[in-house]
Symmetry: C2
Subunit: 251 residues, 2 copies
Amino acid sequence: MSLLIDYANNTLTPPEPIPSLMQGPRFSPFSGELLSAPSLEPWLNQVPLREGQKTARARQMIYRAGEILDGVPVICDGWAARVCRLSNGRRQILSFILAGDLVSTNAVFAGHLRFFVEAITAVRYSYYGRADLGQRLAAQPAVVRALLSACLAEKEEIDRLATDLGRRRADERVARLFLNLRERLDVRGLVRDQSFAIPLRQQHIADATGLTPEYVNRVIGAFRHDGLIEIDRGTLKIVNLIQLQRVADAA
Amino acid sequence: MSLLIDYANNTLTPPEPIPSLMQGPRFSPFSGELLSAPSLEPWLNQVPLREGQKTARARQMIYRAGEILDGVPVICDGWAARVCRLSNGRRQILSFILAGDLVSTNAVFAGHLRFFVEAITAVRYSYYGRADLGQRLAAQPAVVRALLSACLAEKEEIDRLATDLGRRRADERVARLFLNLRERLDVRGLVRDQSFAIPLRQQHIADATGLTPEYVNRVIGAFRHDGLIEIDRGTLKIVNLIQLQRVADAA
DNA sequence: CGGCGGATTGAGTGCTCTCAACAGGAGTGG
DNA sequence: CCACTCCTGTTGAGAGCACTCAATCCGCCG
C-alpha cells in the first residue's frame, strides 16, 4: 500500500540520516563507513512518482526484456515477478516483487532490462522519473548508499536462489520459498498467526523453484499431509514452523 | 596478468572519459546518461594495490563467508571461484573469477561477503585498500559508473545462472559453461584456434552446473563422441562451435 | 448449465544420482 | 628408478527423484 514500508528493517519510521565518517575532500558515498542495513523505500518515498498509475491484470506482461525503459518502475499494489523466458516455453521466476518494491535496482541505472516483468495478481504500478530520482540522489548522498545496498541485497538473493536451484531437492526449495515469502510479508505486517495471503498458482511456485506444477503439487501435498502447512483459498498457514525450517535446511 | 585487461569491452586500451551530461547542481553520478558498457578494470588500474601479494595453492580457501574484509580482493593470476557451501557438503559455484577480476563488487561496499572464495589453480591475489579506492571514486566520478555497471553485469550473470540451473538440462548447462568461458577468455586473447586452457576438474564443472562429477563426465564424453569438443591435458578445444551453440540453445 | 483455469492424482518414463570398481597420471619417498 | 599414494577421469549397474502425459475433479464465472 504505502511506499513507506521498509522491508529490510523491521520498522516503518523513516531512518535517521546515517552519520557520515567521510574524510575525502568532497562528497563521496564510498569513502565513509560501509553499507549496512539496506533501507531504500523511506528515501524513495521522498521522490515524486510520475502522474498516472498504470494497471495490469493478472498474468499480464508489464515489461518485456529489452524494451526501452525511460523510468524506474515500482509495484504499488499486488504481486509481480521477474521472469526469464527461454525457448521451449520454459520459464524461470527470478524473484517475486511485492507492493513497494522497485522492479529491480538495475532499472535505475540501465535503460533496459534482460528479464520480463509479469503481473501475478492485478497490479498497480508506476514509475519514478529518472530525472527526479537523479535530483534526489544528488541532494541526498545517503540515498546512493541505500540504493547500492539494495542492489547488493538483490545480488545476494539471487546467489541464494542459484544455490537452491543447483543443489537442493524439490522439497527443500519449496519450503525455502514459503519461508522466504513469510519473512518478506512478516516485515510488512501481513502475517498473522503464521498465515498470510499467497496469490501464487502452483505454476508460479513451479517456475520459481525450477519444478513442474504437478510435482509442486505432490510436494505441497506431502507438506500438508505431514502437518507442516495448510492452504486454503489463497491463504498459506505455516502450522509447524520448526519442522518446515528443518526441511528447508537452514544453511 | 595485467589488470589493464578489460573483460567487458573487446579492447585493451583505457577508455576515454565518458562525456558527462550531468545537469544537477553538483556532482551526481546518476543524473547523467545511463550506464552502458561496463569497463571497470582500466580505472581500477589507477588505484594502487596494497603492498605484498598473497598466494594460495590450488584448492585452498582464500576467503570464508562472513569473515571481516578490510580491503577489496582482486585475483592477479590464476583461477578462483565464488562458492556457496551448504550442509551435507553440497557446493554451488556461483562464478569463476579470472585474472584481473574483482572477487565481487560487493566487496567494495560491504565489510563481509556471504560466499566463499576458493582457489582453483595456484592463485596470486591482492587487495585494493578501501581508502585508496574511495579516493579514486571521489576524484573520478566515472569510476562510480563503471563500478555500478560491473555490479549490474554481475547481477545479470547470476540471473542467467539461476535460469540455467532451474530450467535447463545437463548437456545445455555444460555447453553453456564452456561457451561462457570461451567468451571471457577470448576477450583476454587467451583463445587460439578455438582452444584454450581450462584448469577445471570435472568436480568444478559439476559444482558450477549443479550436477555430479560422474554425470558431467558422461556429458563431456557425449560431446567428445559427437565431435563437439576435444579435451586434452587441461586444454579445451571447441571443434564444432555451431553445434555446441545449438546444444546450449541461445535463448 | 457449460466452460475454463487450476488442483489433484495415477501410471509410466527417464534424466540424473548413488555406489562401486578400475585405470591412468603426477607427485613423493625410498 | 621403482613403489606407493592421491587425485582425477572413466565406466557400469541400479535406484530414485522429478518429469511427461493423461484423466479427473473442483470452484468459479458467465
